[in-house]
C-alpha cells in the first residue's frame, strides 16, 4: 500500500504523528557498490530512483557532500516547460514533461506540480514571428504551443502593463499551457524516499576527494568517509563538474561555472497565475503557493563558484520587473540567493558514457536543470544500465563540440554566459 494515503494520514493524525518513519535512512557507506552516483541533488537522486525502478539496479550509493537538496535543486525557480526550438531539446524536455505529469503519483509524494502555463512575451513584430516559428516547431513534435494576442494576455495577467506607453510595449506572446511549476524540495525528498525504499544508500556529508583508478578505468572514489569501490561511477554534480573532473585528471571541459541569482518577495494575494518571461531582457516571474513572487534574471556574467551574486544584477532584475509590472514598485524583496550553473558552449546538456572507462557524465544544465530532473535521471539511468544512450539523450554527447554537432537553441555560439 502507498506509504502516504488518506488512510495513513488519518491514522497518524490520531496517534499524534509519532509513527512516521524517516523518509530515507542514514546508512554508512559500504565498501563497494554496483553504481556510485556522485551528487545528491535532483538529477543524482532521480538517477538512483530510475536505476532501481526501471533497471532493477539497487546496489547503488548516492554521495552528497553537504545535506540532501543543498545545491541547485533547492536554489532554482521551479519552472517546468518544454518550449524549445530544436528537435533534440524538444524531444528530451517533452519526455521530461510527461514524467512530471505523473510524478506525484509515481513517487507517492506530492511534488505540487501545477500546470499553470508559461508565457514568453514578445515586444517586437520580429520577435513575435520568431515565437510563431518556435511554436510551430513545438507543435510539429506534438508539444502544445499557442500564440497569444495582447488582449488575451491582458485578460490572463491583468497586472501586466500592456499599454502602448510601457517601456517595452507587449505585442503578443507564446504560451505553453502544460508548462508550470513544482515544489522543488518535494522533488528531492520524493526521489530520495523512492530510491531509499528500493535499497539505494543515500550518504550525506560525504565529499568525493579523488577517484580510484586502474589504469584509465575508474574503479571507485575516495571520500571524506573512506574509499568506496564501484563498477560504475556516475557524476551528476552540475556547477561543480569542472572541480570534480579535475580530480579525475581532466583539466578542460566545454563548460564554465557561472552564478545565477534568484529572488522572492513578501507574500501577496494572487496576482500572477502563470510563469511570465520578459522578451527584452532576461527576466522571469511566477508566484508561489505561499504568495511570494519568485523571480530571476541573467547570470552575473563571469566565472564563479561562490553561490552568491553581486548587486548590479539585483538592480537589473528589479528594473526589469518594474518595466513589466509598475504596480509592484513598493513590494519588498524578502530573500535572494545564488546557484551555480554549469554553462556549456551550446547551452544544451551532456548525458553520456565516459569520458573515462567506468565513468558516466551528466552535466551542462545551464539554468534549465530543474525541469529536466525526471528525464535527466531517467536517461542517465538508462545510459548507466545499458552502457549506451537512449534515443532521447543520444545527441547530448561530450564530443559533439568537436564533431560539429552542437545543439545551440539560441544560436549564440561558444559564449556560455550568453545562453
Amino acid at each position: 500500500m502507498a506509504e502516504y494515503s488518506a488512510f495513513s494520514l488519518l491514522k497518524n493524525a490520531l496517534t499524534g504523528n509519532k509513527d512516521w518513519k524517516p523518509a530515507w535512512r542514514k546508512p554508512d557507506p559500504k565498501a563497494s557498490y554496483d553504481v556510485i552516483v556522485i551528487g545528491g541533488g535532483g538529477h543524482g537522486l532521480s538517477t538512483a530512483y530510475y536505476l532501481a525502478k526501471e533497471h532493477g539496479i539497487t546496489n547503488v550509493a548516492v554521495l552528497e557532500k553537504g545535506w540532501l537538496g543543498s545545491g541547485n535543486v533547492g536554489r532554482n525557480t521551479t519552472a517546468v516547460r518544454s518550449n524549445y526550438l530544436l528537435p533534440q531539446n524538444t524531444r528530451f524536455y517533452e519526455h521530461s514533461m510527461k514524467l512530471w505529469e505523473n510524478l506525484s503519483h509515481d513517487l507517492n509524494y506530492n511534488v505540487m506540480f501545477s500546470q499553470r502555463g508559461c508565457l514568453n512575451l514578445a515586444h517586437t513584430p520580429a520577435q513575435l514571428d520568431d515565437y510563431a516559428r518556435r511554436g510551430n516547431a513545438m507543435r510539429h513534435l506534438g508539444v502544445d504551443a499557442e500564440l497569444m494576442s495582447v488582449d488575451q494576455i491582458k485578460r490572463l495577467v491583468p497586472a501586466l502593463d500592456v499599454s502602448g506607453s510601457a517601456r517595452f510595449p507587449v505585442v503578443g506572446g507564446l504560451m505553453q499551457r502544460r508548462a508550470g511549476s513544482a515544489r522543488h524540495d518535494a522533488v528531492a525528498w520524493g526521489y530520495a524516499r523512492g530510491a531509499d525504499r528500493r535499497g539505494v544508500d543515500i550518504i550525506e556529508n560525504c565529499e568525493v576527494t579523488g577517484f580510484l583508478r586502474d589504469g584509465d578505468r575508474v574503479t571507485g572514489v575516495s571520500t571524506t568517509r573512506g574509499e568506496i569501490r564501484a563498477k560504475k561511477v556516475a557524476l551528476a554534480v552540475a556547477g561543480s563538474t569542472g572541480r570534480v573532473m579535475q580530480l579525475a585528471g581532466i583539466s578542460h571541459m566545454p563548460i564554465e561555472s557561472h552564478v545565477l541569482q534568484a529572488f522572492v518577495s513578501e507574500s501577496l494575494k494572487p496576482i500572477i497565475d502563470t510563469i511570465l518571461t520578459f522578451g527584452m531582457g532576461h527576466f522571469y516571474i511566477s508566484q508561489s503557493d505561499k504568495g511570494g513572487l519568485v523571480y530571476g534574471g541573467d547570470l552575473d556574467g563571469y566565472n564563479s563558484y561562490a553561490q552568491r551574486g553581486s548587486l548590479p544584477i539585483v538592480d537589473e532584475v528589479m528594473s526589469e520587473m518594474l518595466a513589466l509590472f509598475p504596480g509592484l514598485a513598493r513590494v519588498r524583496m524578502l530573500r535572494s540567493w545564488g546557484g551555480l550553473c554549469d554553462m556549456t558552449m551550446d547551452g544544451s546538456p551532456i548525458i553520456t558514457t565516459g569520458p573515462l572507462p567506468g565513468m558516466y557524465l551528466n552535466c551542462g544544465w545551464c539554468y534549465g536543470g530543474f525541469k529536466a530532473t525526471p528525464a535527466s535521471g531517467w536517461c542517465f539511468a538508462y545510459t548507466i544500465a545499458k552502457d549506451e544512450p537512449h534515443d532521447f539523450n543520444a545527441p547530448f554527447t561530450l564530443d559533439r563540440f568537436y564533431r560539429g554537432l552542437i545543439i545551440d537553441d539560441k544560436g549564440q555560439g561558444a559564449t556560455p554566459r550568453l545562453h
Binding site: G242, P254, I255, S257, N303, Y305, S310, T415
Partner: protein, 92 residues
C-alpha cells in the same frame, strides 16, 4: 566587485565586459590543426580558485585587461594590460 584599471584606477564591475578564460591559445589563422581550434573555441579551464581571465574596460578607457580573480571569493589578485588579448601560439 571593483576592478583596478591600470589607467583609470578602481572602478565598479558594471563598467567592464567579461571576455572569459585568458588561458586559451588561439592558433595561427592559417592553422589546420583542428584539435587546436576545437580546444581554443570550446575547452575551458574553469577552475574553482584563481582564474586568469580577460576583461575589457568597455565603459571607460576601453583597454583590454588580464585579471587574476578568485572564482570562490571574487577577490581580484592582479590586473594588467592584456597586450594581445588571448594568447596566440608563436609562429614556427
Amino acid at each position: 566587485m571593483l576592478i583596478t584599471c591600470p589607467y583609470c584606477g578602481p572602478r565598479d564591475v558594471i563598467e567592464f565586459t567579461y571576455q572569459g578564460d585568458g588561458n586559451r591559445q588561439r592558433p595561427q589563422p592559417a592553422s589546420q590543426n583542428l584539435d587546436a581550434w576545437n580546444a581554443y573555441v570550446y575547452d575551458r579551464l574553469n577552475p574553482a580558485g584563481d582564474h586568469n581571465e580577460i576583461w575589457q574596460h568597455s565603459g571607460g578607457c576601453r583597454a583590454h585587461l588580464r585579471v587574476v580573480r578568485n572564482t570562490i571569493t571574487h577577490e581580484i589578485l592582479s590586473t594588467e594590460f592584456a597586450r594581445g588579448g588571448h594568447k596566440t601560439e608563436s609562429r614556427s
